[in-house]
Amino acid sequence: MNYQAPVKTTLLEVRDLRTEFHTASGTVTAVDGVSFAIERGERLAVVGESGSGKSAMAMSILRLLTHPGKVAGGQVLLDGRDITKLSEGQLNAIRGHLVGTVFQDPMSSLDPVMRISKQMIEPIMRNLRLNREQARLEAIKWLGKVGIPEPERRIEAYPFEMSGGMRQRVMIAMALSCRPQLVIADEPTTALDVTIQAQIVEVLKDLTAEAGAAMMFITHDLGLVARFAHKVAVMYAGRIVEFGRVEDIFARPSHPYTQSLLGTIPSTSMLKSDRLPQIPGLPPDMRYPIVGCAFKERCAAAHDRCQREAPRLTDRGLDHRAACWTSHGLENGATLKADRPERTNKPFEPDGSVVVELNALWKQFETSRKMVVRAVNGVNLRVHKGETLGIVGESGCGKSTVARLLLGLEKPTSGDIFISGLAQMVFQDPASSFNPKMTIGDIVAEPLVVKARGNKAERLDAVRRLISQVGLDPAFAERYPHQLSGGQRQRVAVARALALNPSVVVADEPTSALDVSVRAQIINLLVDLKQELGISFVFISHDLLTVRYISDRIAVMYLGEVVEYGAAEEVFADPRHPYTKALIDAVPVPDPAIESRRTSTPLQGELPSPLNLPKGCAFASRCPMATDRCRAEKPALPNHDLSRQVACHYAH
């Protein structure tokens, strides 16, 4: 609706761009002959996994590559001028004035010791040739537009006085304030919660449309692409493998990689009993030259020609190009495979026995200034044998604290925790969850050694069995964590968690650090283990589509309280708490048709501080239907024996 291309003129044209990184272990061709164009006012999404070269490409366009990266060839024409041939001085003028940038990490891209005013006003003065007073008014105007409350006051704030979402808004205001014609945003919402992400995306979309700026949006989230983009470029191993209009890409993807990516996302329409299709294998090692198509090892439709020759982008209809030798990619004969299609994600059948019970659990932390952070406020939860409980909520809602309490890593302030058997954990960040000096074998064996189970030979057997159980070759026992990919490390984390035959495994964001194509592999693994071993899972995530797929029950948390609880299907199909509704609403769905029909406005505001909790309903400050009663009286969650509970005065 906002998109009215005035005249179709090309703003940015990239021709055969090549970027190389010269490292000690060889030359990595991160961007390998990429060509595309962006028209004025157009929003292009660049999609790809880590290592696909999408960020290196953006940095090459801005000429912001740092050592050892180097643009090795090609042209970048911005408004007809070749950027690759400009001097550093000319470039600086372009970066502020013609091109604005928003980076992923709002924590590190603002100068921590400068007030926002200083960081914003000077570039505006320089680029728009205004005096200090005018520039200040302009900066305040933009801060207001991106949704910073009280911009006249907040402009004098330091970055550390703002939340992540607020800082990202400031970044956007800075990028747009110099009236760029092109905005390059590299994963601008990845570090943010879904509700904040939804707000930021709306702001970016409206303001670029208002200013008539074009935008290049780099992401790995296909849901965001559907919500946001006019055109899509899919990158794999340094090349664009598919390019086209967003409706075409989602409705008629013709490259097997695009088709696979779309297939691996748990969608809202998917039956929970269906097994999640997964892309086998890993992306190629970019240090070695790739012969033939880079995707051939992971492609079910690969044939002889793919082994020998790399396909070029060819026309597939209106504005739609794909780099594949086949005409339609994966066809009926060679569909995307679930690894073991005979398996299903069987719904949970309760046999009544409770494995985990949390009763009136409270946890408060004292800060160094004697303030009390109330992280968990009276949580009652039960997990039955073989059941998966999903806990969702924004960061700061207390879901990770509940996990740590459950594992005994923190002591509750009051309330009790009952666990029949042992609880084990799979951590979020596969990079920091292993001791880098230990081999995989030692890591998996550690729980056995600590608990003095078996002798050395028996433990060795156990380690081999555990490592193969999670789908790795037992030879991995000899390797070190840094030699493994993210997905492999997460499998090892699961193996370690299983070593002592736990009755419940707590997984805190186990897939959020993984690439889309690997994510499905880990989810399928967890589903298999749950059925083979009868283990219960507590699955904590902000990725609502995954939680819906994997969980039997869902608990929605807000400010340390459970506000809604029920069967996963029911909660998603019929959310009753206004917060649950807003949360589900904020999730971008990988379907442009649904996204374009979306009318509701995203949830406004941010989480109140857990230092100073409201007296009434915790959600009242952001709730569209809050009344005086909500602000005065706290709604209670009904008896936890009920299968469906909602803590709201007005929703039953």
Partner: protein
């Protein structure tokens, strides 16, 4: 079941060995700075070790018929006012330097590791007690502190080593503590805690092995620094006392005769310079090699 025991001290030794062998795996010898350092240090240290069998005058032997002689084939660095061979005395001084450097680095490493680990790991009262003392020591410049301590403990090799170590230990505790603090919050510690691993296990298996690399670098810097401090103390007449030679007191002896016999002070001074430069290149190179970002 009985044969399962917690690994004790050897675990630490093997990881130290592992760190050193990792160094060699990362092409220690092909690193430019390291090569330069070894090119300087190896000849000096080799001569020091070979000194007893070299055909030179003994360091304490005087020869009143050959006083203040200009460097020659017989006396490579010349002779001093009592006809002692300066080359021989310099080599004996280097021996003292190496002993001081190595001892100080070992003492600082040992105390720093133990106290720093305890302070960082346990926090609370233990931390406050250890760090209060550390902060008091850190308030003084290390040379001044060493001078103060030597004047209390007296001169000679052992007091000098102790004085310099006492000035270095607080720095090592600080470094180790900060490493432990950042490791303590890593997820693999939590993972081990969920299986009820003992605190001893956490420290010896997970924390200490991950701190060794940085501590070794700090130790090599401390060794270089200790050699300079010992030379300074001896130069000031507070360290090793004549007639026992040390690089510092040889330079001090010669300074009165700078105009008549410049070589007495200058040549041992050059050796101090070479050792200091060599050790700094070495620790710089080791640091670069151990830094994961440079791999």
């Amino acid at each position: 079941m009985a044969d399962i025991t917690l690994p004790t001290a050897p675990a630490q030794n093997t990881s130290l060995l592992a760190a050193v062998s990792a160094l060699f795996r990362h092409r220690l010898l092909s690193h430019g700075k390291v090569r330069l350092a070894l090119l300087i240090l190896i000849p000096i240290f080799a001569l020091t070790i070979l000194a007893p069998v070299l055909p030179i005058q003994k360091p304490l032997e005087t020869n009143l018929r050959a006083m203040m002689q200009f460097p020659s084939i017989e006396h490579v660095f010349g002779t001093d006012k009592m006809g002692r061979d300066i080359f021989s005395r310099t080599l004996a001084g280097v021996q003292v330097s190496i002993l001081v450097g190595f001892s100080v680095a070992s003492i600082a490493l040992a105390f720093g590791m133990v106290l720093g680990t305890l302070a960082g790991f346990y926090g609370g009262l233990v931390d406050r007690a250890i760090m209060t003392v550390v902060d008091i020591f850190l308030a003084f410049p290390s040379l001044l502190l060493a001078i103060g301590l030597v004047s209390v403990m007296g001169t000679g090799l052992v007091p000098v080593i102790l004085a310099i170590s006492l000035a270095d230990v607080p720095r090592f505790i600080r470094l180790q503590r900060s490493q432990v603090l950042s490791l303590r919050s890593r997820a693999f510690i939590d993972a081990a805690r969920t299986v009820d691993a003992s605190q001893y296990w956490l420290m010896t298996r997970h924390i200490v092995p991950n701190t060794i690399a940085a501590m070794l670098v700090a130790a090599s810097i401390a060794a270089a620094n200790a050699i300079l401090v010992e030379a300074s103390l001896s130069f000031l007449g507070l360290g090793i006392m004549p007639p026992q030679p040390s690089l510092g007191n040889i330079v001090r002896d010669g300074q009165t005769y700078l105009e008549q016999a410049w070589w007495i002070s200058t040549l041992p001074g050059v050796v101090i310079l070479l050792i200091a430069v060599g050790l700094h290149f070495l620790s710089d190179g080791v640091r670069e090699l151990l830094d994961p970002r440079s791999r």
